[in-house]
């Protein structure tokens, strides 16, 4: 009896060891197969797991199913932390050489990490086949192009420099909701009035929302060229104008709720504005989808305006989808990408998610007023890339800067934040 148990144990071990070695030897699938003949499952990796984001994804999947009845959509969404949880899962899969068929990534510098790691297929040919280059705005295509090649298909465009306000709270404090401040100084004056009325002037949440606030104060204070220069080395982080901008950020923080780090994500901060506990919340325009979902009316319940001092500037971020090297079903992935790039797919998805379509031929007649205004702004404003969402700098740079911003929330040491930001920029800037 004992002998046979030993044998079983030994056999089990051997089996485990063999299974451990087996996984990596998959044959590369033929990436030249046309999308229209694709069959099987398409595994798509996102961090759109609940709320308006999941609703948007579901709408997109419906279009996909209608376009390609032969394919099955496999939802590989991972929830949590504005994508940070998902990114760690994805990083592990990519390292192990078992990528999904397509995954979500912020367009811009964040994509650069994957490109550098040779983890993405070049989609330039796909763009030409589907005539996508003419359908997307040039500004956007330029930001997606690396060394003349395009690696992802954008699904939507968001704007990060939007302030959401509670109309009722503003009126009670004697601030005209129809005449938002056009400079930081004017905004501070308004917030002083709100503070005097006993409400929290500005709602903000944990580290990444503070970084988002920081980037927009920088943008407002330094202007478009000054802000862009921070990321390409043209602006000196140690300069006096940056000191002034950080001082302004310090003043902005003094108007915020003291429990900012306790709020679990952006939505509780926006909720404070919805509930009338706070007057303003600076948040990307996914907040629009939240207001709409909760049945609030623009104009009477809430209002929105560009971050004071950034009118005429569109602080941009975009989600995009990729074709990873070694995808199990590349033809299916291309089918998915063509649905995302298509006018129909973009209309269905963005209407629900509250963002604006990247594809300029998408129908937007029944979009909300906010979305229509954002579409108009995107076509005529100056475009800059968002820091907090990985459009402006690679993730490692963003992480270090976020740590410094988080530290600043505690000690308020202007010189320390400036030194840390300058040191980080020096380390990563090319």
């Amino acid at each position: 009896m004992r002998r046979s148990l030993t044998l079983i144990a030994a056999a089990a071990t051997l089996g485990l060891t063999l299974a451990g070695c087996g996984g990596s030897g998959q044959a590369p699938a033929d990436s030249a197969a046309p999308a229209s003949e694709a069959t099987g499952e398409v595994g798509v990796f996102t961090w759109w797991a609940d709320g308006s984001e999941k609703a948007g994804l579901d709408a997109l999947v419906d279009v996909f199913k209608a376009d390609y009845p032969g394919l099955t959509f496999d939802n590989l969404a991972v929830a949590g932390g504005a994508g940070s949880q998902a990114k760690s899962v994805l990083a592990a899969q990519l390292k192990a050489g078992t990528p999904p068929d397509s995954f979500q990534a912020h367009a811009g510098a964040e994509l650069q990490d994957y490109i550098d790691a040779d983890q993405l297929e070049d989609l330039t040919g796909f763009y030409a086949e589907n005539k996508l280059t003419d359908q997307f705005p040039k500004d956007l295509v330029d930001r997606l192009t690396v060394d003349g090649k395009i690696y992802s298909v954008p699904s939507n465009i968001h704007r990060s420099n939007v302030v959401w306000a509670n109309v009722e709270v503003l009126k009670k404090a004697g601030v005209d909701p129809n005449k938002p401040a056009d400079s930081l100084e004017g905004w501070f004056a308004d917030m002083d009035k709100i503070k005097a009325s006993g409400k929290t002037p500005l709602a903000v949440a944990g580290t990444w929302t503070q970084t988002q606030l920081f980037e927009n104060v920088l943008l407002s204070s330094l202007g478009v060229d000054g802000y862009n220069g921070l990321w390409d080395g043209q602006t000196d982080w140690k300069g006096a104008d940056v000191t002034k901008a950080i001082e302004a950020y310090k003043k902005t923080l003094s108007y915020t709720n003291s429990d900012r780090d306790s709020l679990s994500d952006w939505a509780p901060a926006t909720q404070l504005v919805e509930d009338g506990a706070a007057a303003y919340n600076l948040m990307g325009d996914w907040a629009e989808a939240k207001f709409a979902q909760d049945g609030k009316k623009a104009g009477s319940d809430y209002s929105y305006f560009p971050m004071p001092g950034t009118a005429g500037v569109f602080n941009f971020l975009a989600d995009s989808f990729t074709l990873p090297v070694g995808a199990p079903n590349p033809a299916g992935a291309k089918a998915w990408l063509s649905t995302i790039g298509s006018a129909e797919g973009q209309t269905a998805f963005n209407k629900v998610k509250g963002s604006i379509p990247a594809n300029t031929t998408a129908k937007t007649d029944d979009f909300s007023d906010y979305q229509k205004s954002a579409i108009k702004d995107f076509s005529q404003d100056k475009i800059v890339s968002s820091l907090a969402h990985g459009a402006a700098v690679p993730v490692a740079w963003l992480n270090e800067l976020s740590t410094a911003v988080s530290k600043f929330g505690g000690d308020g040491n202007v010189a320390a934040l400036q030194d840390a930001a300058a040191a980080t920029a020096e380390k990563f800037a090319k």
Binding site: S258, L272, A396, K407, G409
Partner: protein, 301 residues
């Protein structure tokens, strides 16, 4: 020869699965981790250039990492002190023939059966930093609200949002959760002391304090050491509780090496993350290895 194989063969075969699994999934991975920590793999792009101990020297010179080590020290001291004090007090009270001992033992032990993640979600709410006298104070929840409603409003504080002592607030739920365990250890220690010894001491005219000081405490030393080792190494590795209480992993006030390793890993800085992992391993080894040596020597004796 065959006889010898028959002697140790079956035993080895029986142990082989464990040896192989532990060898691959623990020791080989430690070695692999160490290898990565010596490279310049700071981005997602594969790069395997050997840089020696540069990552370690850079990390140890980094004020953010020093701050996380300092936080770890505060956390460990408060966590250890709190669990030892409460664990000992409870064990001491239950050691006296008290009514309902079984009930209270269960009550004190119970928090240990909850996972850090589950309790962390509740403690996030309990340790909310908003205070009633701050703007927006009407939204105050958790402990601050409780303190205010029982007339102890002056004791409200910002818990883990305090830039200097915030990390000590993280120790509060940890103490709540593990004091019962330390109590169980001490209770076993108390029970292991034969009644005859106490009687003999009392007959010799020992006061109650002297009885504890000279008879009971010396015999509790091994228990105390076990408690320090177990709680100490848990504190050094503490990650899930912080992650559950603090919504954003990259929150400077409560950064410890384990959470910093996570932030680095998310940012694809594999080399730095691996180096932090090695430093943590060494820190834990400094606590555990002497203890293992001590116990194995004690067993031989």
């Amino acid at each position: 020869m065959l006889r010898r194989v028959k002697h140790w063969g079956p035993g080895l075969l029986l142990l082989a699965p464990t040896i192989i699994l532990v060898g691959v999934f623990v020791y080989w991975l430690i070695i692999e981790n160490f290898r990565v920590s010596l490279t310049n793999q700071h981005t997602a792009k594969p790069s395997n250039k050997y840089v020696g101990f540069e990552n370690y020297t850079n990390l140890l010179a980094d004020p953010n990492f020093q701050h996380s080590l300092w936080n770890l020290l505060i956390l460990t001291i408060v966590f250890l002190g709190g669990t030892l004090i409460f664990g000992f007090l409870w064990a001491w009270m239950l050691d006296k023939p008290a009514k309902g001992e079984g009930f209270f033992r269960a009550v004190y032990l119970f928090p240990m059966s909850v996972s850090f993640i589950a309790s962390g979600v509740v403690w996030r709410w309990l340790l909310s930093s908003l205070q009633t006298d701050q703007p927006g104070g009407e939204r105050t929840t958790g402990l601050n609200r409780l303190l205010d409603s029982v007339g102890l409003g002056f004791m409200q504080n910002d818990w883990w949002s305090n830039p200097t002592w915030g990390i000590a607030a993280i120790a509060v739920p940890a103490i709540w959760q593990l004091s019962g365990y330390v109590m169980a250890l001490f209770l076993a220690g108390f029970r292991g002391i034969p009644e005859e010894l106490r009687e003999a001491a009392r007959i010799d005219g020992c006061s109650e304090w002297k009885l504890y000081r000279h008879v009971i405490f010396p015999q509790l030393n091994p228990v105390m050491l076990s408690a320090v080792i177990i709680i100490g190494h848990m504190s050094l590795k503490l990650f899930d509780l912080i992650r559950a209480i603090v919504p954003d992993a990259n929150t400077y006030d409560v950064q410890v090496p384990a959470t910093m390793m996570w932030v680095k890993y998310i940012g694809s800085d594999y080399a730095d993350a691996a180096a932090i992992g090695m430093i943590l391993l060494v820190l834990v080894a400094l606590v555990v290895v002497p203890y293992l040596m001590y116990t194995s020597r004690a067993e031989k004796r």
